[in-house]
Symmetry: C2
Subunit: 339 residues, 2 copies
């Protein structure tokens, strides 16, 4: 039996506990052992939770910790502490991965444990593991990702005729969008995710601050009419272009014969181009309690299979990228066109 | 330096040699070591090739063998021999995996080496590794795959107005279809692939012979007109349905809002449904020299990272599946409709 701890009993943390319980037979088959949630840490007064991280990191039974708190602090301090104790940490926390992923990955390596973050990009989509394990030997020249389900939901509804505010309000009512939707609709969430993907495949650290970022708030219904006339749709993409050494987030026109054209509603899709494998696309739920938790659990299983050994996302020893500006939009349209 | 051998210098075998040479820097980064092709075995008189498998399996330098011969013999005998010598084998040979994959996987486990076959399904698409490593803890209830690029190319062209024979001839001229296209257009190739996928996720061995198989030769242009009128397309799918415990291959009507609708030309797409992760789809080139070779190389790297240890596709100790007949087509259309 492998004992784990969950830090933060929010949506994703609660999902991890649920997946571990509901899928215990499948976990046993995959891992060859059971997972057991020994501790849950939360700042709230919930029966059975602990509030002191030291109880967890000083328990030699705990082999893997799921950091599902989000935000920089105390997630950073707790992760740092766990890794220094040789306990692997799996997270969905894109903000922390963007800000301190390289440092935390190096601490993990130095202490023969792992810092994994599959759930930080694309929710349930197994994109990081695929890039690392199946495409680690490819030269990745291009990534274009629909990486924010809220924006994609809003744009799908605008395509169907609703205006931005109505579509946003509906997304909020359905729980897809936050009350303060800025991080989603201004593209900042997408920027963090494309920065993580670019870092993983390029051998250089791209950070959120380096991403040229434009959101979806200026898109009008007229833009969708114009797009439709040209057999295209409008999607918010995070784009990494190796040749130009650039990372940007912006609304793009997607031709109807492109595989990303059919990625609608809250779903995410990540298009990848490698020099030998050519075009790939990965599709799935980019958010949501159980899909995201499932991705965290896949990392927990990988850590549990490799106790005492470091597995990493090529996030160690990364120099900071020098990022170029994206070329001018010379598509003849208001938005760039995805090739 | 990790020494490898390639058995069969055909399209895929030649591709493996090319990927190993062209992407040596990326391989070094991913594996932490170089790959070196020490031997190529081929029955033809090509300068530098060896013809005796014993030269290869008795060389303790050889750590991984790529079996890219295709067909059952001598691929089966050579693979058997290599695994008994503790040498891992990576293959694109779906026929052999379907017929002897369980036995060969068990031999690999007994000799602390691996038998991996990512390239046998979906060409370059990292589907097996994703199912095994990222979704091994999921209950997979459903897989629907466009698994044969030749059929998809023909159907895409029929949708554009060509008749079956013209589209087939064009596929043959472009090198996508064999002169004897039966294995593709009758659905047998798709049947082998869906049988492998079903076996991997179900814990039971589904074999090619158990698949209820219908090809694309009876599809007419009228069928496409009728499909279009209903905002659907026609695709040849391999379908695994866990609830009904069935595996079948047949033309399906795909509604335009389904993510498989946009998988066209020679591309493959594999739709997967898990109980926690929900819907996923993996898209890429299902055939072709370099994409397929890239998938073989991803397996070689995994074997090389795990010398002396067994990695397996859950293909060990599998009892033969008892397969149910698929339910009647009660869609009201000539073909079943994908849900």
């Amino acid at each position: 039996m492998i004992n784990i701890a969950i830090l933060g009993l929010g949506t994703v943390g609660g999902g991890v506990a649920e997946v571990v319980e509901k899928n215990q037979n499948e976990i046993k088959k995959s891992l060859g052992d059971n997972l057991h949630v020994k501790y849950i840490l939360d700042i709230r007064d919930i029966p059975g939770v602990v509030k002191d991280i030291n109880v967890i990191v000083n328990d030699p039974d705990v082999k893997v910790i799921c950091e599902t708190m989000g935000g920089k602090e105390p997630a950073y301090t707790y992760t740092h502490l766990a890794l220094e104790h040789g306990i692997s940490v799996c997270t969905s926390n894109k903000e922390l991965v963007d800000a301190h992923g390289v440092e935390l990955s190096e601490i993990a390596r130095a202490h023969n444990c792992s810092y994994l973050f599959e759930a930080s990009v694309g929710g349930g989509i197994p994109i990081l593991r695929s890039l690392r394990e199946s495409c680690g030997h490819e030269k990745i020249s291009y990534i274009a990702g629909i990486l924010n389900g809220t924006c994609n939901y809003i744009l799908t509804n605008m395509k169907a005729g609703k205006d931005f505010n109505t579509a946003l309000k509906e997304a909020q009512e359905k729980g897809f969008a936050e009350r303060n939707p800025a991080a989603d609709v201004e593209g900042h969430d997408t920027a963090r995710k494309i920065a993580i993907l670019a870092s993983l495949v390029s051998g250089k650290k791209f950070s959120y601050e380096q991403v040229n970022c434009e959101g979806i708030t200026k898109i009008t219904q007229d833009d969708f009419v114009e797009a439709e006339r040209n057999k295209m749709s409008i999607k918010l993409l995070g784009v990494y272009d190796a040749e130009n050494n650039s990372v940007n987030v912006a609304p793009y026109l997607i031709p109807e014969n492109h595989i990303l054209y059919g990625v609608n509603d809250v779903f995410n899709g990540i298009f990848v181009k490698g020099n030998q494998i050519d075009n790939l696309m990965f599709y799935g739920r980019g958010a949501g309690k159980l899909p995201t938790a499932s991705a965290v659990v896949s990392d927990v299983i990988e850590c549990a299979k490799n106790i005492g050994r470091n597995v990493n996302n090529n996030f160690v020893d990364l120099p900071l990228a020098e990022v170029n500006k994206i070329p001018e939009n010379n598509s003849g349209f208001k938005f760039r066109v995805l090739n």
